[in-house]
């Protein structure tokens, strides 16, 4: 315990620890501000689009009113009928967009969801006698995506959930792995459906989808994973311990555990920072927010079936809990690997690069028994990885067990190296 406290004191009193921690926090805050400005620009774009439509239909209404008066004067019944209908249509559309603009500005999501549901239902579940296909830039939107989008909106309406900031000038589409856009349409689709988390947990969810956790684990290793290498680098700090009545096994485990606990604390802080900054700026977000989970293949040949394949939603709360478990296990693996590399190479920056490369290469080999395949936590939890690899063995529990096993093997190697190699 005393050695653990001493090791902890070394970490705490080292300025580099604090500088790197502050830089990491600032980076997350900086990314949030960029994200927020993008979200605001999307919001502005939607408002401008509404304004444009409001003006357009107002002008339309005026034009048809003039035509209607002209028809009344000339007593042209046919034109009068058309002008009356069109004026009414323009007026109601104008009012609809006025209402939509107001709802959007006031973030009255219920009204928006109700409107979206009407639109999406027509395409997601068209009556058999009236099949309807939805298109985006002349390319078909798959029925799976339409159904998922519809169900998501329905879930949010029923549970009174605040959505992410998204461009809703078309519809509130939820992009899925079943999308099959190509070329410029794909880029446009990605842009149109991109979601920006402004609230605390929404921002965290957005970061998790972008390899945030593995990156933070690597940074954490760089800060806290050098309990051994920093003592054997330029200085001979390790010799300080070697002439004390202290068993090498105890020294190894204390250094290993101190570094890991430091890393774990860092990862937890870095998970807390996006929540804190988002909450301060835009509120906490809703823990019931629906996360799409693919149910997998319905055909025995493992083909994607856009009409029959099913899905379900899990609340964001459950998603974050599963993420936390995977993050803890992943951090153990990457840390143990980093610790092993640091027993051979004393320079932390090289260790981080090497471990980063090994991790990246590891992710390229998709196999249920390859722990690095589980680094994209989002794809594991949503089962996207199962669909991508045509393999349903990729499960959260397999990932946890395999990762723990490899961590244990690395730990044994670390111990052997530490005990039997001259420092």
């Amino acid at each position: 315990m005393k050695l653990f406290l001493f090791e902890s004191k070394k970490i705490i009193k080292n300025k580099t620890t604090w500088v790197l921690l502050m830089l990491s926090i600032l980076a997350v805050i900086g990314i949030y501000l960029i994200n927020l400005s993008l979200a605001n620009s999307v919001q502005k774009k939607v408002t401008n689009h509404n304004d444009f439509l409001i003006d357009l239909y107002q002008q339309d209404q005026v034009d048809w009113e003039i035509k209607k008066k002209e028809a009344q004067r000339t007593k042209d019944e046919e034109v009068l009928e058309e002008a009356t209908f069109m004026e009414e249509h323009a007026r109601s559309t104008h009012e609809h967009y006025l209402m939509m603009k107001e709802a959007y500005q006031n973030e009255d999501w219920k009204k928006i969801f109700q409107h979206e549901l009407k639109q999406l239902k027509l395409f997601a579940y068209p009556p058999p006698e009236e099949p309807a296909d939805a298109y985006f830039e002349n390319q078909e939107i798959t029925n799976f995506t339409l159904r998922a989008s519809y169900e998501e909106v329905k879930y949010m309406l029923e549970n009174d959930i605040q959505p992410f900031m998204q461009n809703i000038t078309t519809n509130m589409y939820l992009p899925t792995i079943y999308d099959s856009f190509s070329g410029r349409t794909l880029a446009l689709w990605q842009e149109e459906t991109k979601r920006y988390g402004r609230e605390g947990i929404y921002y965290l969810y957005q970061l998790i989808q972008s390899f945030y956790i593995p990156i933070m684990i690597l940074v954490g290793c760089f800060i806290f994973g050098n309990t051994f290498s920093s003592d054997t680098k330029k200085n001979n700090h390790i010799r300080f311990y070697q002439v004390l009545p202290l068993h090498r096994t105890k020294l190894f485990f204390t250094k290993y555990v101190t570094g890991y606990l430091g890393l774990l604390l860092f990862v937890l802080i870095m998970l807390g920072v996006p929540i804190a900054v988002g909450t301060m700026m835009h509120g906490f977000g809703d823990l019931k927010y629906p996360i799409l989970v693919y149910d997998g293949y319905t055909t025995e040949y493992m083909n994607r079936n856009i009409v029959e394949d099913t899905f379900h939603f899990i609340p964001l709360q459950k998603y974050l809990a599963q993420t936390l478990v995977l993050a803890i296990v992943m951090s153990l693996l990457i840390y143990t690997m980093y610790f092993l590399v640091s027993q051979f190479i004393k320079e932390p920056i090289f260790n981080m690069i090497i471990v980063g490369i090994l991790t990246f290469v590891g992710t390229l080999i998709s196999h249920p028994y390859n722990p690095f395949s589980y680094l994209d936590i989002d794809k594991v939890i949503t089962h996207e990885i199962q669909l991508q690899t045509w393999n349903t063995d990729f499960t959260l529990s397999t990932g946890i067990v395999i990762t723990l096993l490899l961590s244990f093997v690395f730990k044994i190697l670390n111990y052997i190296r530490f005990m039997y190699k001259s420092i």
Binding site: L3, K10, K13, N236, F240, Q242, V243, L244, L246, S422
Partner: protein, 293 residues
């Protein structure tokens, strides 16, 4: 009463590739006292001390400290090794270091205060080691190495970077330790300091150890400044003393036991002694003999 061998090296070999730094060396020290490990840079003094303390492994042979294998970590409850200051953590305070060492030895907190006062580092105990001067770091290393009241103490260049007052303090500490029954083995380049603290010298050359009792080589000389140098010169020569004439002084090579007679001869003939200095030489001469100039 059974006497425990303080240090025993038996046929110890340490080599780097084919270069034998320690070449089948044996050594036995059974008593308290100070032993100086002497040799030029790169000869393997630190390597030997590191091997003895199991910091680096030996290729073959056996090392025992206080009757136990040096591989037993528990021996360090009664043994200390003062290493160079690169082992210190610059971002920790002297207190942090001492506190941890005390905890490792399961010593009470008050022992820190005792050692700190003894070494004289109260003023900077709570400052970060990074701000310490060379001498201050040396004081901390000394404090760390004596905090457990060692029976056997190894010191690697303990006199490096010390100002005169620190050197005096270091000598006092060494003599106190010996008085308390500690065996001290120190490596040093400072031959003059070695002459002041010990006669027991271990030269290290070509991987071998040569143990010398400097008493056999010690030469004591007295430098006299006199009111009548010419007369004194004649008187001493006539009395059979070996003298050396300098510009302002006469150097007489005699043992301590003959000093009184020498002074009597000078004073009985009306010559006044203006100044008298003692010079002890030995290590330097021996060093030159072993390693050349």
């Amino acid at each position: 009463m059974i006497k425990i061998t303080r240090l025993m090296l038996r046929d110890v070999l340490k080599k780097y590739k084919s270069h034998k730094v320690i070449d089948h060396v044996s050594l036995k020290i059974e008593d308290s006292g100070i032993w100086a490990l002497v040799g030029p840079n790169g000869v393997g003094k630190t390597t030997l001390l590191n091997c003895i303390c199991n910091i680096i492994p030996i290729n073959s042979g056996k090392i025992e400290l206080l009757g136990e294998s040096n591989k037993n970590f528990k021996v360090f409850e009664k043994i200390s090794y003062l290493q160079d200051n690169t082992i210190l953590f610059n971002y920790l305070t002297g207190y942090d270091h001492l506190k941890y060492v005390c905890d490792s030895h399961r010593l009470p907190k008050r022992r820190i205060q005792e050692v700190v006062e003894y070494v004289g580092m109260e003023n900077y105990l709570h400052k970060k080691v990074g701000t310490y001067s060379l001498g201050m770091k040396q004081h901390l290393l000394v404090a760390i190495s004596i905090v457990n009241r060692p029976k056997l103490l190894f010191m690697d260049e303990p006199l490096n970077g010390l100002d005169p007052s620190s050197s005096i303090l270091m000598r006092k500490i060494l003599f106190d330790l010996v008085e308390q029954g500690t065996t001290v083995i120190l490596s040093s380049h400072n031959l003059a300091e070695i002459d002041r603290v010990t006669n027991q010298i271990i030269f290290i050359k070509d991987g071998k150890l040569i143990e010398i009792d400097r008493n056999e080589y010690t030469e004591t000389r007295y430098v006299f400044k006199l009111s009548n140098q010419v007369l004194a010169n004649k008187l001493l020569l006539d009395s059979g003393y070996t003298i050396q004439q300098e510009k302002d002084a006469i150097i007489v090579t005699i043992g301590e036991e003959d000093l009184n007679d020498c002074i009597q001869i000078i004073q009985n003939n009306g010559v006044t002694i203006l100044d008298l200095q003692k010079e002890v030489t030995g290590s330097e001469k021996l060093y030159t003999k072993f390693f050349g100039k």
